[in-house]
């Protein structure tokens, strides 16, 4: 063992002791059950001085993140919801369709499957056909925006894959939808 290595170990040991001193300690004998306080949860705020802070870094940031995988990109919204017994893409969902339409229009290599769904009311096969109508309605809008037929497949799950599982309007509203799934 050389002198240099010795002194480096000593330095590390000292640093470790300082780090320990920085931690607060609690005498076990003085520990009491934490009082139960009825209060709003406090959100901890990270500061530069927090020694346990972890700053997230995206390795792909600034190097062409796939917009489909970016939660901040409007393309991350991929569901269009419908009224009962309706296949009309409501105005509030047209921006979503528009966003995907222009993305697909400029990225002709991308393929999307539009999956139609219905709520549980009615027959299974008829609902499969209703879900198909919803998927088809979204496809027609996409094609008006310049998307070509071969980029879009429409399929239906009918009532078979509900997102909301209750038998109430809240669940049904979640299930009357068309999802855009990129392949």
């Amino acid at each position: 063992m050389t002198t240099t290595q010795l002194s480096r170990s000593a330095l590390l040991a000292t640093a470790f002791m300082f780090a320990l001193a920085g931690c607060s300690s609690v005498n076990l004998d003085e520990q009491k059950p934490a009082p139960i306080v009825d209060a709003a949860p406090v959100t901890a705020t990270k500061t530069d001085s927090d020694p346990r802070a972890v700053a997230p870094v995206d390795a792909q940031a600034g190097r062409g993140l796939d917009p489909l995988n970016d939660p901040n990109n409007p393309l991350s919204k991929r569901s269009v919801f419908f009224d009962f017994d309706s296949f009309v893409v409501k105005s509030e969902y047209q921006p979503i369709v528009q966003t995907h339409g222009s993305y697909l229009g400029t990225n002709k290599q991308r393929r999307v499957v539009v999956e139609g769904h219905t709520d549980e009311r009615g027959g299974r096969e008829y609902n499969l056909a209703l879900g198909q109508k919803r998927a088809e309605a979204v496809k027609q809008r996409l094609m008006l925006l310049g998307v070509v037929d071969s980029q879009v497949e429409t399929v239906s799950f009918g009532e078979e894959k509900p997102r909301g599982t209750g038998s109430n309007e809240e669940a049904w509203a979640q299930n009357r939808r068309a999802d855009l799934n990129y392949r």
């Binding site: 499957v113 009615g122 027959g123 299974r124 096969e125 499969l128 109508k133 078979e160």
Partner: protein
């Protein structure tokens, strides 16, 4: 007879049996006594109890108490005594173990009024086939008394969803016993349909991420996708000769009815509407196809020639009629109608256009005729859970089949097996 039928050992764990509950009876019931069969200690199945349960479930028989004393097939019977007990017919029998381990089952059906034998047969049955033998005897009794073929030895298929990620295609005896899983999947399975010879099932499976029509050979488990076109593929229906399948495809846009060979070849479009055409069902003579269409607004049932062409509307009551099935004699149509928010099974006499409501439940789906046309099997909900139920086509007799767990749905009654 039964000796020629070998059931393979169960490839899967034995499934929990369905429970039968009779909720209605026919107005005229034939009084019959089924005596306990004389049997050796080693006989596994209470063959007489299975026969009694079958006949009772049909709603057409009143089972007269025959006491606990077994009566052998060759015993002499005091006809007047049985007539006095209220039984117009009496069945007696013997089950004896053979040297090779199988069983000799002998039965006689006696008319206590005419004091004559109506039927007498012997079967050689394995232990595994004993329930089937009992169903066959029940079928004989049913036919001798009513003049129609019994359906107790037929089978049913249905779908069970056991969890949010688990679907199974089951095949069971008509009384719900001997349920076996023919297919298990983590994606939905819907719309099973028996081939006319009872050897294959067509169905829709979502296992590839979209609806695809498969044909599945029941005994071998061999299966192939016969309609896997762009878009959705669904609603398979067999032609009466088993050579063709009508299916719903969306490869040209919305759901439309197509005809293809049973192997998936020679696909041609039958309907050309701008809306939904689906759920094809062949007429009994194979010359026309009934289907559901929303061409007039809400869904109604229409009929067209099997070659396609102009369609005639068949249902006119209510604004929602779907899932048509044709009776084996071709004279009736069963379907689901929605009236006042209730989805129920209706039976239409095609010639007179008279419609009869046959169920007392409110969320009915998937009606299917028994091969003798007497009963309809359908799916419904009780306490939020899917169960199977049956009703006589006049609506008088109703029974329920419920399993211990899981949602049961999409039943389809299989054909007579030779």
């Amino acid at each position: 007879m039964c000796a020629t039928v070998f059931l393979a050992p169960l490839p899967t764990p034995v499934l929990a049996q369905l429970q039968v509950q009779i909720t209605g009876v026919g107005s005229q019931q034939f009084p019959i006594a089924i005596a306990n069969f004389q049997r050796d200690a080693q006989v596994p199945t209470e063959i007489d109890a299975v026969i009694r349960a079958d006949l009772a479930r049909s709603g057409l028989f009143k089972i007269v108490n025959a006491g606990t004393q077994p009566i052998a097939e060759n015993a002499s019977v005091d006809f007047a005594d049985w007539k006095g007990r209220g039984a117009d017919a009496l069945a007696i029998g013997t089950v004896a173990r053979l040297a090779d381990g199988r069983f000799d089952v002998r039965y006689r059906l006696l008319d206590t009024v005419k004091q004559a034998q109506l039927d007498g047969l012997s079967y050689v049955s394995t232990a595994a086939d004993m329930r089937l033998t009992a169903h066959r005897i029940a079928d004989r009794i049913y036919e001798k008394i009513t003049g129609e073929r019994g359906v107790f030895a037929t089978r049913i298929a249905y779908i069970v969803q056991t969890s949010p990620k688990s679907w199974e295609l089951h095949i069971a005896d008509a009384d719900g016993f001997n349920a076996q899983a023919a297919l298990r999947s983590r994606e939905p399975i819907i719309s099973p349909a028996w081939s006319p010879d009872g050897t294959r099932l067509a169905y829709v499976s979502f296992e590839s991420g979209k609806p695809v029509v498969y044909v599945h050979s029941v005994t071998t488990g061999e299966r192939r996708a016969v309609a896997n076109f762009r878009g959705s593929n669904s609603a398979p229906a067999w032609s009466p000769d088993g050579r063709s399948l009508a299916v719903t495809l969306t490869r040209e846009g919305n759901s439309q009815v197509f005809l293809m060979n049973a192997d998936g070849s020679n696909v041609r479009r039958l309907t050309t509407s701008s809306g939904i055409d689906t759920e094809p069902a062949f007429s009994t003579d194979g010359s026309s196809i009934y289907f559901t269409s929303d061409r007039g607004g809400g869904p109604q049932i229409y009929r067209m020639p099997v070659s396609g062409g102009s369609a005639q509307r068949v249902t006119f009551n209510g604004d929602y009629n779907i899932s048509a099935r044709v009776s084996p004699d071709g004279k009736q149509l069963a379907y689901i109608g929605r009236r006042g928010g209730r989805l129920q099974v209706y039976v239409l006499d095609i010639a007179s256009a008279q419609e009869v409501l046959v169920t007392d439940t409110a969320s009915d789906e998937s009606p299917s005729f028994a091969p003798n046309g007497r009963l309809l099997l359908y799916a419904t909900e009780v306490n939020g859970r899917g169960i199977l139920a049956s009703a006589s086509t006049d609506g008088r007799v109703r029974t329920r089949l419920s399993g211990p767990s899981g949602d049961i749905r999409e039943p389809t009654w299989g054909p007579f097996i030779k």
